[in-house]
Amino acid sequence: MLIAILSLTLLGAVLGLGLGLAARRFHVEGDPLVAQIEALMPGSNCGQCGFPGCPGAASAIAAGSAPVTACPPGGRALAKALAEKLGIAIDLGQVADAGPRIAAVAEEICIGCCRCIKVCPTDAIVGAAKQIHNVMREACTGCGNCVERCPTEAVTLQPVPVTLQHWVWPRPQLAGA
């Protein structure tokens, strides 16, 4: 009995000591996953996901408490990238994605109230009080914050037109192959 207790104790102690030393030798700092996910996010901190900005959403996605499809501006492409990063399978069909969209100001309705300018996370709307506002297409992320704030519904999200430079060959649709 005593020998059994002694040997088990000894075994435990030796293995424990070895592992303790190894843990010190092979120590790994922090979780790099959150940073990697954050790098994939749009970074506009628009808040449509319900988290306080992209870093918050990134940590929630890394922890598994938010789905990879949480980010509406990121759309299907982001969901796919995140799923690949996390090694999970998702059904991309459920992600609503009507293609990229950007905001456009209807000049005849805009009253120049400047409210949209204040909520734009990328300063993509230019204009001054009592002046018609305009959207810089390159900077707009299509987050939709301005659409909600516009008192006259002058701002709408419009699909980005396809040009020769952006046109992509469709994937062959084949019955047999």
């Binding site: 970074g43 690949e84 900077a139 396809v162 062959p172 047999g176």
Partner: protein, 507 residues
């Protein structure tokens, strides 16, 4: 690379029926000048040209219509004399059928040239000057790549290229426009290529011509005979012999490293038609406003080569050559790499070496079946890729996997899809994947830009808040100071009044 490579000798390429004759043997004809010409602003790789004419303006043949914009760009010139009707969108010669900006010209039928300034002795000019004149004439690669020729001259000179390779391969079936150029304008080609040699500082030139063009070889040999540094080299007819990398390997044995330019291994490739265009740009002072184009295909009644102005509609060319049947498929370029045209009302561009109108029999394609992994595509691929593996991954949506199999090295030559017994549209899979990857890259760049904008906004808001706080603090300080002053004043006033009252009282 020794025994192993020799044992597994490359057997790339395919041998499609070339269908070049009888079109190649028909004498060159000239397209009657169409009433309207549509000159697209982008007919080259790089930035689109910027218009320098206004609607309604009269122009002469060869006059600058739009100037080059940016480092890699090329100008376009008026293909005939007449009046600018409009600067607007026309259907691009592109499978998508999307529109592109073009200058519409109404010809006056006079064909009056702008004052031309020929160079008597181009070899007396500095290489930089040749490049400048070539660029000003709007010369781009006429083999189909449409890369601005002068940019390549400068690159070749900078990288000290020793050998100029002149591409007379024309391995695409049906096409014979380069063949026609070599037969009809052999002297111009040879003179042009010698000017290019001077411009890039090359010591010798090799002209690779597929051995199925004996007339062109003979004409070129005769034209090149006086020049010891120009060698005419017949190469076996095998598609894609006219591809830069393959032609370089066959002629010089050099292999261009992936992601590198040919100039980095000491060679530069120019097409025979490009050389002829360089000759005209310098010796005659003529801008690139016309080209020789093959009109061929089963639906064409009189196939052959036409000298046609840039901007003529494909419909004009087909109407001149005559249609034997309703075309079932219209192609700009060759059947292996050419682009499908949405309809015939698209303009002829500088890079268009052929217009093919296929009849129903030629256009018929068996339905695609499943891949049986026969490996024909891997044997045919001139780049040593595994098309079947790439396509199966792209079909499953695994673009990264396809990239891992060398998607970026694919030259879209079409050998794999041609040879596939299951008729799988492999090239379309690859084009699709590349488009998606490019779109992803654009999205990534956009993401980064957004991030920067957000940071800038954050900084701006912080600065605003700081400034506001500073201003508020300042105002507060001022107010306090004023208040203190006032308080002090009242106090002193009170004190004085007290004093006064005290005084008043005291006595």
């Amino acid at each position: 690379m020794g025994l192993l490579e020799r044992f597994f000798k490359p057997s790339w390429g395919v041998h499609p029926d070339d269908h070049k004759r009888p079109a190649a043997d028909v004498p060159l004809r000239t397209l009657p000048l169409p009433e309207r010409l549509y000159v697209p602003l982008q007919q080259h790789v790089g930035g689109p040209a910027r218009p320098v004419v206004l609607a309604g303006q009269k122009v002469l043949k060869g006059q600058l219509l739009a100037e080059a914009q940016g480092n890699i760009s090329a100008p376009v010139h008026a293909p005939t004399s007449g009046r600018v009707l409009a600067i607007g969108e026309v259907t691009a010669p592109h499978p998508s059928g999307l529109a592109q900006l073009a200058i519409t010209l109404a010809s006056d039928g006079d064909e009056r040239w702008l004052e031309r300034e020929p160079v008597a002795d181009p070899f007396a000019l500095a290489p930089e000057e040749i490049a400048r004149l070539t660029a000003a004439a709007g010369v781009v690669g006429l083999g189909g790549a449409t890369f601005p020729a002068a940019v390549k001259f400068n690159l070749g000179r900078r990288l000290k290229v020793s050998t100029l390779i002149v591409n007379g391969g024309e391995c695409e079936p049906y096409l014979s426009s380069d063949d026609a150029v070599m037969r009809v304008r052999a002297a111009e080609v040879v003179d042009g290529l010698r000017i290019v040699m001077h411009a890039i500082g090359a010591a010798n030139a090799l002209v690779g011509i597929e051995d199925n063009k004996p007339e062109a070889i003979a004409a070129m040999r005769a034209a090149a005979a006086p020049f010891g540094d120009v060698a005419i080299r017949p190469v076996p007819a095998r598609y894609p012999m006219g591809s830069d990398k393959q032609l370089i390997q066959v002629l010089t044995g050099k292999e261009v490293p992936a992601d590198a330019r040919a100039a980095e291994v000491g060679v530069l490739v120019h097409n025979v038609s490009t050389c002829a265009a360089v000759h005209r740009a310098l010796r005659r002072g003529e801008a690139l406003v016309e080209r020789i184009v093959t009109v061929n295909g089963g639906a064409v009644r009189a196939p052959g080569n036409l000298l046609a102005p840039i901007g003529a509609r494909v419909a004009d060319l087909l109407a001149f050559a005559g249609l034997a049947a309703e075309p079932a498929r219209l192609i700009l370029g060759g059947p292996m790499m050419g682009t499908l045209l949405p309809h015939a009302n698209v303009p002829l561009v500088k890079g268009a070496s052929g217009v093919l109108a296929f009849d129903a029999r030629e256009a018929a394609r068996p339905a695609a079946g499943p891949c049986i992994r026969c490996g024909s595509c891997t044997v045919a691929c001139p780049m040593g890729l595994l098309p079947l593996e790439m396509a199966s991954r792209i079909r499953a949506g695994d673009l990264a996997g396809a990239t891992g199999f060398g998607l970026s090295d694919c030259i879209s030559c079409g050998c794999c899809a041609w040879v596939c017994p299951s008729h799988i549209p492999l090239v379309q899979y690859f084009s699709h994947a590349r488009g998606e990857l490019a779109a992803g890259e654009r999205a990534r760049l956009r993401n980064e830009a957004t991030r920067r904008l957000v940071e800038q906004r954050g900084e701006r808001l912080a600065r605003d808040a700081r400034e506001k706080a500073a201003a508020a603090a300042k105002r507060k300080a001022e107010r306090d100071a004023a208040k203190a002053k006032a308080a002090a004043a009242t106090e002193s006033a009170a004190a004085s009044s007290a004093a006064v009252s005290a005084k008043a009282v005291s006595p």
